[in-house]
């Protein structure tokens, strides 16, 4: 693996800041007073989040191989635990903590 130089790291973080700030400031720049929002933008605002979070879940799991190793079993079990706890309790932190602890135990003790 090629490690990034300090300058490259600074640029990477700066681009994250720039991307974030662009999305936070842009609406205020585009709609300075109570101008109506274009219908297409409103539509994207409603439908985009669900697709993005689905994409992010896949992004997090992109290195999991279904054909080698444990065939994604520890990930699948932990995902079920996250979903199970969340449907049961609906408490974000509990679900995240439960799933993470489950995964850590699995990869450290069971699927070693």
């Amino acid at each position: 693996m090629i490690e990034q130089t300090l300058l490259q790291q600074i640029i990477t973080v700066a681009l994250c800041v720039a991307g974030t700030m662009a999305t936070r400031f842009l609406p205020f720049a585009l709609f300075p007073q109570g101008k109506p929002t274009p219908a297409y933008v409103k539509y994207l605002g409603r439908v985009l989040p669900l697709a993005i979070f689905g994409m992010l879940v896949v992004y997090c799991l992109r290195h999991v191989s279904l054909v080698t190793g444990w065939h994604g079993l520890p990930e699948a079990i932990s995902l079920l635990v996250v979903v199970g706890i969340h449907v049961w309790k609906r408490q974000m932190l509990l679900s995240i903590a439960g799933g993470t602890i489950c995964y850590m135990l699995l990869v450290q003790l069971v699927f070693v």
């Binding site: 985009l48 995902l79 969340h86 993470t100």
Partner: protein, 235 residues
């Protein structure tokens, strides 16, 4: 004197709203700091990144961006896509942030999911200054997040337990957010598009190249499906 009282009053009104965020941000912030530490970064990284980016999910992804080979275009595009939801927070806050004067740039800078949610939804008592209330909410939340991340980065080197698998916290966080949106929405077409396009592009382009084609196809599909989806919304 009256000004001081108004600031103090706004703090008293704002603080209770931020208590749950304190718990959440310390847990996630500490985890983030420890995760960065476990990935080989000094505590300066989580500290400065939590201060400047101040957007939880992207900061977790940024760890990957720093570990993987330098890819500036993808970094910017991923940041814009992940954070694109802020565009709509901004649209929702256009009226609420008006007439906040010098506080406005900071309110926009610090508008993470949680600060937005509180500032959007909180019932601010009429005798409390709106601008100061929202400023306190934003500043307190950022304080929790930065202190948690810094502490995690410092303590990470002292953590004796085996941190293998800790990065699953990021996956779990997105699964929970996805699930929340999923349970809230009646029409889940967009979720199928997001997951379907990602899985397909992952299979086609491999783990290092699939994000940009995925994002492009999501935008394209949602644009093509606008009419039927909007018809179903109103139905």
């Amino acid at each position: 004197m009256r000004q001081k009282q108004a600031i103090w009053k706004a703090l008293q009104a704002a603080f209770p709203y931020t208590v749950p965020i304190f718990a959440g941000f310390w847990f996630l912030g500490l985890t983030y700091g420890i995760y960065m530490n476990a990935s080989g970064f000094s505590f300066w990284y989580p500290s400065l990144m939590s201060l400047t980016i101040f957007g939880g999910s992207l900061e977790f992804l940024a760890v990957q961006m720093l570990i993987n080979p330098f890819a500036p275009l993808q970094t910017l595009l991923v940041s814009l896509m992940i954070q694109s939801r802020h565009l709509f927070y901004g649209i929702a806050m256009l009226d609420r942030f008006r007439y906040t004067g010098w506080k406005k740039p900071y309110l926009i800078f610090g508008m993470c999911d949680e600060s937005f949610s509180i500032n959007y939804a909180a019932t601010i008592p009429p005798e409390v200054d709106r601008g100061w209330f929202m400023l306190w909410v934003t500043a307190l939340n950022q304080l929790y997040w930065v202190s948690g991340a810094t502490l995690g980065g410092i303590l990470g080197s002292l953590v004796c337990f085996n941190t293998k698998g800790l990065d699953f916290v990021m996956t779990a966080m997105f699964v929970v957010i996805f699930l929340e949106q999923w349970l809230k929405e009646k029409d889940r077409t967009s979720a199928y598009i997001g997951v379907g396009a990602s899985v397909l592009c992952l299979a086609l382009f491999g783990p290092d190249q699939f994000m940009i084609p995925t994002m492009a196809s999501i935008l394209l599909l949602l644009t093509l499906l606008r009419k039927p989806l909007e018809r179903r919304e109103t139905a």
